[in-house]
């Protein structure tokens, strides 16, 4: 799915008049109070599909109005496609979690709860756009056509990447928090230099927004007016630390200080994520520079399989977010609107089963790398020291075979 038709439209910049005014009046209040208000206030979300599974109209929600045009072309079939993407991504993710429990993976970072943010934004992209993920973007990878089993290699411990970033314009996962936002910015600077109209998208978390690298990425992209979308999945937690430990002002508002627009979208609403990302990508293509999208969502599971969230967060909180489930709400809508029938859900279930089975089989058959792979690709041009150490180590290993 791509949208070119709405390219000429200029939606209101969300960090512009309305929200800026709100921020300014808050600033008049004593600082501590203003910060508290900003944090506690119900977030102003762009939402096109409510948690109850109802479509939002322009009249219902003026904030959403300007974005509705970006999904005008979405057909019922497209909606079923988005639903399928989310279901299969969740299934893949659940399978990976199970495989970790069975000892087949060393670690897994689950995306449970974040399917809409990833599928919505991922389906907004064009093939020639370039994606810089962090380590949890399994749904975006799915949208890019990366075989999901490729994502498992690094979590199994057989490689540090597992795919060629240029095949699907989907960069390798980045574990050092926030680093990739600068790579995305640089890539976008290159796109602009080339006069191309591709866009670049960088994914990162709410915790990552505290890193200096992310601030520097904002600065560079603003100064060079780079065609990059910063897509922050605010899943409320950075391991054990809630967003209050990272910021005192809603994240999307930060963009304003750097001179580009920021918008907060309901990250559990796949349609809104699609619309807002398309809007941001089009700004980038038109040469209007960077955008910050804050997808307001929730990490339903643990940070990773090594983490124990019961140590730091309450069940009630998690349960409250369960009611906003991204998949359930689209299902409700599809059923109520007659967009899908039982046969559709049944065949999708079968497809899920097949995917799960394939993932299990591929992972279990994934061989350990050859020992000598340690010395591979250390340099592109080769290196005398590596050659020497490789030869020494090979001789050492061979000495065992000779019954040393």
């Amino acid at each position: 799915m791509t949208v070119e038709s709405t390219a000429a439209r200029k939606p209101r910049r969300s960090s512009g008049t309305k929200r800026a005014a709100g921020a300014a009046s808050a600033a008049k209040a004593p600082a501590a109070k203003a910060a508290a208000t900003a944090q506690n206030a119900e977030p102003q979300l762009v939402q096109l599909l409510t948690p109850e599974g109802e479509r939002v109209s322009a009249a219902d929600n003026p904030d959403a109005a300007e974005f509705l045009s970006f999904v005008e072309d979405i057909t019922t079939e497209d909606l079923r496609g988005l639903y399928r993407d989310m279901v299969l991504t969740r299934r893949f993710d659940g399978e990976a979690t199970a495989l970790q429990r069975q000892g087949e993976l060393g670690l897994w970072a689950s995306l449970l709860g974040q399917e809409a943010a990833q599928i919505g934004s991922g389906r907004a992209l064009r093939d020639d756009d370039y994606v810089f993920p962090t380590y949890r973007e399994h749904g975006v990878a799915w949208c890019r056509g990366v075989d999901p089993t490729n994502l498992l290699g690094m979590f199994r411990g057989v490689n540090h990447g597992g795919w060629d970033p240029n095949t699907n314009n989907f960069h390798l996962y980045t574990i050092v928090i926030g680093s990739q936002t600068l790579h995305a910015t640089g890539y976008a600077m290159g796109v602009a230099k080339d006069g191309a109209d591709s866009a670049v998208i960088a994914y990162f978390g709410d915790g990552a927004s505290s890193q200096g690298d992310v601030a520097e990425a904002f600065t560079f992209s603003a100064v060079y007016n780079s065609p990059v979308v910063f897509f922050c999945q605010n899943n409320q937690w950075a391991i054990s630390e809630p967003t209050e430990r990272q910021m005192r002002v809603p994240l999307y508002q930060r963009a304003q200080g750097f001179g580009f627009p920021g918008v907060r979208v309901d990250g559990n609403d796949v349609l809104a994520c699609l619309a807002v990302t398309r809007w941001a990508l089009e700004r980038a293509r038109r040469g209007e520079g960077p955008t910050l999208v804050e997808a307001f969502t929730y990490r339903m599971g643990a940070h990773t399989t090594s983490d124990d969230p019961t140590k730091y967060r309450r069940d009630e909180e998690t349960q409250a977010w369960e009611a906003k489930d991204p998949i359930l709400r689209l299902k409700t809508y599809l059923l109520a609107s007659g967009g899908a029938d039982e046969a559709f859900f049944e065949s999708l279930e079968a497809e899920s089963e097949a995917l799960g089975k394939r993932v299990r089989e591929v992972v279990r058959a994934m061989p350990d790398p050859d020992t000598m792979a340690i010395f591979e690709n250390v340099y592109a041009d080769g290196h005398a020291l590596v050659d020497e150490e490789r030869a020494q180590f090979a001789a050492y290993l061979a000495s065992f075979e000779e019954g040393h």
Binding site: G106, L107, G153, M154, F155, R156, G157, V158, N159, H160, I175, V176, I177, G207, A208, S210, Q211, G212, D213, A238, I239, S240, E241, R245, Q246, M247, S306, D307, K311, Y312, D368, P369, T371, A373, I374, F375, V378, H383, L385, V386, E389, F393, Y396, S399, F400
Partner: protein, 326 residues
């Protein structure tokens, strides 16, 4: 007497607790150190008992963590900061190298920098990349920093106390794959000097020098060598900056052979410095060149290869044999 058997993790926890109790200026800072008690639970329960003003969950920003610790130290506090994993210290590397290390000298000795940077380091836990590295040489190379690594529970307890008491910045490397190893800790003991090497096992034919996670491997190698009639001494260096060359020299003058073992890449590593110094100091005593066993000039490999990558018993014994063959 307060002798208790505990894990290295517990010893570190007890050590931090004692430091918080004794000196109101001591602060703990880092990501997830509060409610969660750190991803390795080294700070478990400390926020509950000492409050959020003393045990501080920080934003996810390592440059910020070390940079603000420097400011707090300038204000008279003694911050002990936790970097979650070895590979994540680099956003803070600038602050550590260009600021923390040099502040005392720049201020002509007028300011002190009692900052401890705790880093769980090295491999062996099957983690994904950036979670298993041994960057100690990068810090030991920097004048102004002290760099240490305990190998057992007693040292974990006491060296951390001493690091916190030090008016110099100390990079405190914790061997994460040994966190659960238990040992006796005498919390009333009078500890030895922080930077003094320790003879962990006596021997007469050859000295194995190591620190942190590799001490255990060397002790196992020495035990295996003993079965073949070779008497191997194991020196736990404990400190990589400064290095106790006097202590090591004494051992080498006795055994006349030295093999240095560490997980970090051998090239330009701490072993290189040790080999050069010991060769200078013990040239006429040595029966063999100083040999080094360590990591390759290659990125730390994916988990499924770390058993091959990490120096184990066989590689250490191979070096012992090579040295003895001279």
């Amino acid at each position: 007497m307060a002798v208790e058997k505990m894990s290295i993790a517990k010893a570190l926890n007890e050590s931090l607790r004692k430091a918080l109790e004794t000196d109101p200026k001591v602060l703990i800072m880092g990501e997830d150190v509060g409610k969660l008690g750190g991803v390795f639970r080294i700070t478990d329960g400390l926020q509950k008992d000492f409050g959020e003003e003393r045990v501080i969950d920080t934003p996810l920003a390592e440059s910020g963590i070390v940079g603000t610790a420097i400011g707090l130290a300038l204000r008279g506090y003694r911050p002990v900061v936790e970097i979650q994993f070895d590979g994540f210290v680099f956003p803070a590397y600038d602050q550590i190298v260009t600021q923390l290390a040099k502040m005392h000298a720049r201020a002509l000795g007028k300011v002190k920098m009692p900052v401890v940077v705790r880093i769980p380091y090295a491999g062996g836990i099957g983690a994904v990349e950036h979670h298993s590295e041994s960057p100690e040489a990068l810090f030991a190379h920097v004048p102004g920093l002290k760099v240490v690594s305990p190998s057992n529970a007693s040292d974990a307890y006491w060296m951390l106390q001493q690091a916190i008491l030090s008016d110099d910045p100390v990079i405190f490397f914790e061997p994460k794959r040994r966190y659960w190893d238990k040992g006796e800790v005498d919390t009333d003991a009078i500890p030895g000097e922080l930077h003094k090497a320790r003879v962990a096992r006596e021997g007469s034919d050859l000295t194995l020098a190591a620190y942190g996670p590799m001490v255990k491997v060397c002790l196992e190698a020495a035990a295996a060598a003993a079965e073949e009639g070779k008497s191997v001494e194991v020196v736990d260096l404990r400190s990589m900056s400064p290095i106790d060359f006097d202590g090591l020299q004494a051992s080498v003058e006795k055994t006349r052979r030295l093999v240095v073992v560490h997980e970090a890449p051998v090239f330009l590593g701490t072993g290189a410095e040790i080999a050069a110094r010991i060769t200078e100091r013990c040239f006429y005593h040595l029966e063999a060149p100083v040999l080094r066993v360590g990591g390759f000039h290659a990125p730390y490999p994916p988990a499924r290869l770390e058993d091959e990558y990490l120096p184990g018993l066989d590689r250490v014994l191979d070096a012992v044999d090579r040295s003895l063959a001279y």
